[in-house]
Symmetry: C2
Subunit: 335 residues, 2 copies
DNA sequence: CTGTTAGCGCGTTCAA
DNA sequence: TTGAACGCGCTAACAG
């Protein structure tokens, strides 16, 4: 290993100039006739041979430096250990690869400082753009993103004060579906279990719930830290009020409240009906299965990736990115 | 945006040479007295001021090119949507950040080609090292890693033919604990549910099971594709044989077999006792809770990161990395 | 003691 | 097909 071989080595070995090697390396794929420069087939072969024999790998650093492009994007999600984001991560990686990009992943853990650190760190790695799930309270970092002029797309949430490129899910519509499903299952006195975190995905779902279920229907807010205890208290109240239907605003609260209710001898789906939000394999354990709202994860990834790469291309062409700030809204489905 | 400001701009603006700026920028942190070069406090202040005012960010590309270091490592896991790897990912990111590195993540989906592609792609990004979970059938890619001379650490599995730096868990010991726990719960006729995938983590657990439970105890192998159907068949056989205890070799099979058994009216933890492997929140749903073997995820991450960074440092100092190929074995615990 | 000059690393690209 | 400038920051050698 030690010294990696450079374009220079290839040139020397093949008895041609550095420039020629560079050219050949970059046109290896362009099989269509009209190449910008012409190289004799034989020379081309020779260069390619030498290159592969010496196992030549161009230095991405040098290339980056010269063309000012890294072909790397940064993706900051909220919590990699939540399957929801795990799937998004996987899909985004797929999309990026398909477009010839590599992904730098980060997990904010819903900590604004950590989020900010990740943004900074990725900026320093010269990522060409971002796809982010802003941690609650990360308004300042988002401002930083806007100010940086780097293309970026926000997913999963929005901040009412900023108009930025986003790919979102119609949470209100989804919640409406969920409630109707729950009522269709016979539930009359329903409640909602949610996070205390004030992010749009949660508040939208709660708002929708309020509108449909009325002002008396309780909404339980689990603190992001110490969720378990919050779930216990919520369960107590649910029992006291004799609710017969629970809607959850997310998968983690679903599971917590289920556990807390079971502990109290409540029979899920018999004593209390449930409809979940986001998948958890816990839903399938019950009979009948707990229906849930499924967000179109692959589409979120595909759309946000396409959006971002479009912005990057536009910027490359010198267009004014700051104009673009459409919000793409996708629909969830009930499973 | 457009043109990012370079060290040159700072130099001009501050009225000093480029070299001086470079020097100041790199010593900002070294508060200890004996700096290699001395700069007047005032000049230093001025440079720092200008730099922050202009919001200067050094180009990582240029730095990389010059020092031949990227401070990026590649991490290839098996499946980001499995919480097991999600947690590992999060912990590794933490460790890397702590050491001043950035992480390139990839998910192999247990596909050898995909795994190979990721390795190649990361190599081209000039990562300084790898932490990988080799997909089943990726022997060739691992050979490639060895041949490349790049530092790397394998986690979660090992391949009997290769002696490489690894951080593993004592799967046999863990399985022994699991079986003893199951027997302690009163199970007499036990079976095991596992993956058909031939990777060491699975085979070790199975081997251990064989040794303790005897040759008659059935082991069910779920195909990696079409797991559900495999689980149904396994459940049928479990019922037919009248087993009263099930050990799982991993979390996904656990959940699948639980679902299949429930469908058949079996009462988990009453008709059949279970002990799981790797956490799933499904375990907590039952009464009493399903005990499970917990692998020390944070330690796996910490140890492998430390191991890798040690290798990178050693290589930096010109030591011969190829010698090092210790296997670190960690212990799991029963919860 | 304080600061500058100049060359380097590696691939890209344009003029010749 | 080639020579040479270029992108950006690092650093050894050198000057006031």
């Amino acid at each position: 290993m030690s010294k990696s071989i450079t374009i220079k080595d290839i040139a020397r070995e093949a008895g041609v100039s550095i420039a020629l090697v560079s050219f050949v390396m970059n046109n290896r794929i362009e099989a269509d006739g009209k190449q910008k420069y012409r190289v004799s087939e034989e020379t081309k072969r020779r260069i390619l041979d030498v290159a592969s024999r010496m196992n030549y790998r161009p230095s991405s650093a040098a290339r980056m430096l010269r063309q000012g492009r890294t072909h790397v994007i940064g993706v900051i999600l909220s919590d990699l250990s939540n399957i929801f984001y795990g799937i998004i991560a996987k899909e985004l990686e797929d999309q990026a690869t398909r477009h010839g990009y590599t992904v730098l992943f980060g997990s904010s853990e819903e900590d604004p400082e950590r989020f900010a650190r990740l943004v900074r760190s990725f900026m320093e790695k010269d990522v060409e753009g971002f796809i982010v799930v802003p941690a609650a309270g990360s308004a300042r970092s988002v401002e930083g993103l806007i100010a940086s002029g780097k293309p970026f797309v926000v997913i999963d949430r929005y901040h009412p004060d900023y108009d930025v490129p986003s790919v979102l899910v119609d949470n209100k519509g989804a919640m409406k579906m969920a409630i109707e499903a729950l009522q269709g299952m016979g539930a009359r006195k329903i409640g909602m279990i949610s996070y205390a975190m004030r992010i749009s995905s949660m508040t939208d779902r709660e708002e929708s719930f309020r509108e449909i279920a009325g002002d008396d229907a309780p909404i339980y807010h689990l603190p992001f830290q110490n969720t378990r205890e919050g779930a216990e208290q919520a369960a107590d109240d649910i029992v006291r009020r004799g609710l017969d239907g629970i809607i959850s605003a997310s998968n983690v609260p679903s599971v917590l409240i289920i556990k807390a209710l079971l502990k109290r001898g409540i029979h899920i789906q018999k004593d209390i009906r449930m409809v979940g939000f986001d998948y958890s394999n816990v839903y399938d354990i019950f009979e009948p299965r707990i229906p849930y709202i499924l967000q179109p994860l692959p589409q979120i990834a595909a759309q946000s990736a396409e959006y971002l790469f479009g912005l990057i291309d536009a910027k490359q062409k010198g267009e004014d990115i700051a104009q673009k700030k459409d919000k793409i809204i996708l629909n969830a489905s009930l499973i």
